[in-house]
């Protein structure tokens, strides 16, 4: 029994999961109807659904970010801007250049979306090239698109917010008629399961870890380190693109200034909350996903409690500090040391009593 509990707490996923539960527990105490889920207007309705739905973008970004962190011990800080660029590219393609509101599409929906995703993959490839082939520090390399991608998007949209008032375009971020589950949840499930399956069924996960732990050693043992690194950045770009299309579809427009704003930070935070080391190497995809939903759960909780959205970041920061501290190796070491000392103390007193 004791042993089972111990292996459970030793599991890498235990802490992220416990943290998420803690956030939800606060809500349970505060107002139990937080967990109420019902069908309203033919769709699932409730705050838990909101967390799953609104957390989709961060979860999708976290998938790519986890791979990047694992393989290169660095972060891709351009994901938020790439989201914006993808949204702008897609909307520009669908509406035609210079048009700022349209009800009919200039090109088929699929063409627009594929164009957007192609743009995001170009961004990923660009980042990947800089990091893997030119050995530039990931943060510096991705800083280029962090600043430039949003501006390029603005140029694509002719400095305007481009509206696509075409019903099917709204499906990705809202609901498909007749389906009670938000489409974004399906998209997240598909992205996560494809990547998870890929990592599980091929040796890619192992390769990424070994490159992350020691690039040179991986190279010597026959892995093409730079190709694997490039691949991870490419996937990260694609994930940012998918997240961008979901975000754009929610407001059926490309608001280049606001789409994906500060999402790079949330995605990095999700990886950290998931118990992954930002130093690269071993990674846990499920942890990152849980981390992503934890962030969204905090946001929704604060909104539900009526904490003003301006002050929310402060509360969020406090919660994050607690979570990160609880997971820090130094803190864990301190706790186990105290426990050990206590045990020794007990033993000594027991011995004395016996004597």
């Amino acid at each position: 029994m004791m042993g089972k509990a111990k292996t459970l707490t030793k599991n890498q996923l235990f802490l992220p999961f416990a943290m998420m539960m803690l956030v939800l527990l606060i809500n349970l105490v505060k107002s139990p109807d937080f967990f109420a889920i019902n069908i309203q207007n033919g769709v699932l309705y409730g705050r838990i659904i909101d967390i799953l739905n609104r957390g989709s973008e961060i979860a999708i970004l976290a998938v790519g970010q986890t791979l990047v962190v694992a393989v290169s011990a660095g972060t891709d800080i351009s994901v938020g801007s790439v989201m914006s660029l993808t949204a702008c590219g897609t909307c520009m393609m669908l509406a035609g250049y210079g048009v700022n509101s349209t009800t009919t599409l200039a090109v088929p929906l699929a063409v627009g979306i594929l164009f957007g995703l192609a743009l995001s993959m170009c961004c990923g490839a660009f980042n990947g090239f800089l990091v893997s082939k030119l050995n530039i520090q990931p943060m510096v390399a991705t800083l280029i698109l962090f600043t430039a991608a949003r501006a390029i998007g603005l140029l694509l949209c002719n400095n305007q917010i481009t509206y696509i008032r075409y019903e099917p375009y709204k499906y990705f971020g809202n609901f498909i008629p007749g389906c009670p589950v938000p489409t974004a949840i399906f998209i997240t499930v598909i992205v996560v399961s494809i990547v998870m399956l890929f990592l599980k069924k091929t040796a890619m996960g192992l390769y990424i870890q070994s490159v992350g732990i020691n690039k040179r050693a991986a190279r010597i043992s026959g892995l093409s380190s730079s190709r694997i690194c490039f691949f991870c950045y490419l996937i990260c770009g694609l994930c940012a693109g998918i997240a961008g299309i979901v975000a754009s579809s929610r407001i059926y427009s490309a608001d280049s200034n606001n789409i994906g704003l500060n999402y790079e930070l949330d995605s990095i935070l999700a990886v950290a909350l998931g118990g992954n080391s930002l130093g690269g190497g071993r990674f846990n995809m499920a942890g990152s996903i849980i981390g992503a939903y934890t962030i969204q759960a905090i946001t929704v909780t604060l909104l539900a409690m009526g904490v003003s959205t301006d002050q929310a970041p402060v509360v969020k920061a406090v919660i994050v500090i607690l979570i990160v501290t609880a997971q820090a190796p130094a803190f864990k070491a301190y706790i186990s040391e105290r426990r050990a000392k206590k045990l020794v103390q007990e033993k000594i007193t027991q011995n004395k009593e016996a004597a």
Partner: protein, 378 residues
């Protein structure tokens, strides 16, 4: 080899960052301007211009052309473009004015330089839309010493009073307008209880402060119940997110939603639509918005927004009026507030009398939105 590459890349990055800065700065300033999307108000403007044209023709007949220097913020939004066009068409050759226009591209140093240039050229009047509100004392003193009257439009100058007049929007009045309209509307509809939710703009922006203050005065006076106020940052996504949360917290407890700009209103409407809450003209929830941009007025026309309060970018005719008055030796008001029509979806009420922010009792006509009004919007 690697060194050369890194140098090349640093250079590339620097340029790309510069490029990014260059094109993103205008968007940063878009926030206040976006909230001010406005309608061309073609007839009123034309009338005002025509009226003044007569007077100016007399002046022109006397053989004196008035030179005016105009230092504009930039061209970052449709709202700004509408403002520029308005000033350019009002202060035109036909009205006996030689306008020198400088687009400062959101560079406040360039704007100071432009104003100094105007002083050196000895123009008759200077019109400024100040990019920043401080740092004006020295240059305005120079203008004052040179005897050149300065007219400030849109944004304000805080650290100097050496300008003759300011023309712009009174955001508190916009808030009061929303309150006054709502009071009359609920009285007309026989709604006894007002439970309002507010989705405010970017906290601390002048538009947010004014619109909140104005509306709150009515909340207090009429003993309305303002359930909650959270910020949607003037964005559609913000409005949607806040509304989604409101819907769960206050399910069925509210009958008014006040969005502080049109974009937030679009988001809030989408959230209510998804939750199956009826809103707008025949619905359970009254929707109030500000800005009255084209898309906003379309929603009013469709009956999805009950009332939309304009933020007017057309300062040109008012500038011309001030110049005309000064030419005639009359005194001008320190502050001129733009006429900002109230757009509504129903024709039940014709006008509303209320006390505006300066304590005057004003009767404001309500403009019922039809296709012509939407088409006239910019």
């Amino acid at each position: 080899m690697r060194k050369a590459l890194s140098i090349l890349l640093t250079a590339a990055m620097a340029t790309s960052m510069l490029a990014a800065c260059g094109s993103s700065t205008p968007t940063a300033t878009q926030a206040p301007a976006e909230t001010k999307a406005a309608e061309t108000q073609a007839t009123t403007a034309a009338e005002a211009v025509a009226e003044v044209t007569e007077a100016a023709k007399d002046a022109a007949a006397d053989g004196e052309t008035i030179t005016v220097g105009f230092a504009q913020v930039g061209h970052e939004s449709d709202w700004r473009t509408a403002s520029t066009n308005s000033v350019q068409s009002a202060l035109s050759k036909e009205n006996g004015i030689d306008l020198q226009f400088v687009d400062c591209d959101n560079d406040s140093a360039a704007q100071l330089e432009a104003v100094r240039n105007f002083i050196q050229q000895g123009v008759d009047y200077i019109v400024i839309d100040p990019i920043v509100s401080t740092g004006w004392d020295t240059v305005l003193t120079e203008a004052d010493d040179a005897g050149i009257p300065v007219i400030v439009i849109d944004r304000t100058i805080d650290d100097s009073d050496k300008y003759v007049s300011w023309v712009g929007s009174e955001f508190t009045n916009e808030g009061l307008a929303a309150g006054a309209w709502l009071k009359a509307y609920v009285a007309d509809k026989g709604i006894s209880e007002v439970n309002a939710l507010v989705i405010s703009g970017t906290t601390g922006s002048s538009a947010q402060i004014g619109r909140s203050d104005g509306f709150d005065k009515y909340v207090e006076a009429e003993k309305w119940n303002k359930i909650d106020e959270q910020t949607g940052d003037f964005t559609q996504e913000g409005g949607q997110k806040v509304m989604e949360s409101y819907l769960k917290s206050y399910n069925g407890q509210f009958n008014v939603v006040v969005c502080q700009n049109d974009n937030e209103a679009f988001g809030a409407i989408d959230a209510m639509k998804a939750a199956g809450v009826s809103y707008g003209v025949d619905g359970d929830v009254i929707v109030i918005s500000f800005d009255a941009c084209t898309a906003g007025l379309q929603k009013v026309l469709a009956g999805e927004i009950n009332a939309d309060f304009q933020c007017n970018p057309l300062q040109g005719p008012d500038c011309l009026n001030i110049i005309k008055k000064l030419e005639a030796g009359e005194t001008v008001d320190q502050k001129t507030f733009m006429a900002e029509p109230w757009y509504v979806a129903e024709d039940k009420l014709t006008d509303i009398t209320y006390t505006n922010n300066s304590g005057k009792e004003v009767t404001e006509p309500l403009v019922v939105v039809d296709q012509a009004v939407v088409d006239a919007a910019y």
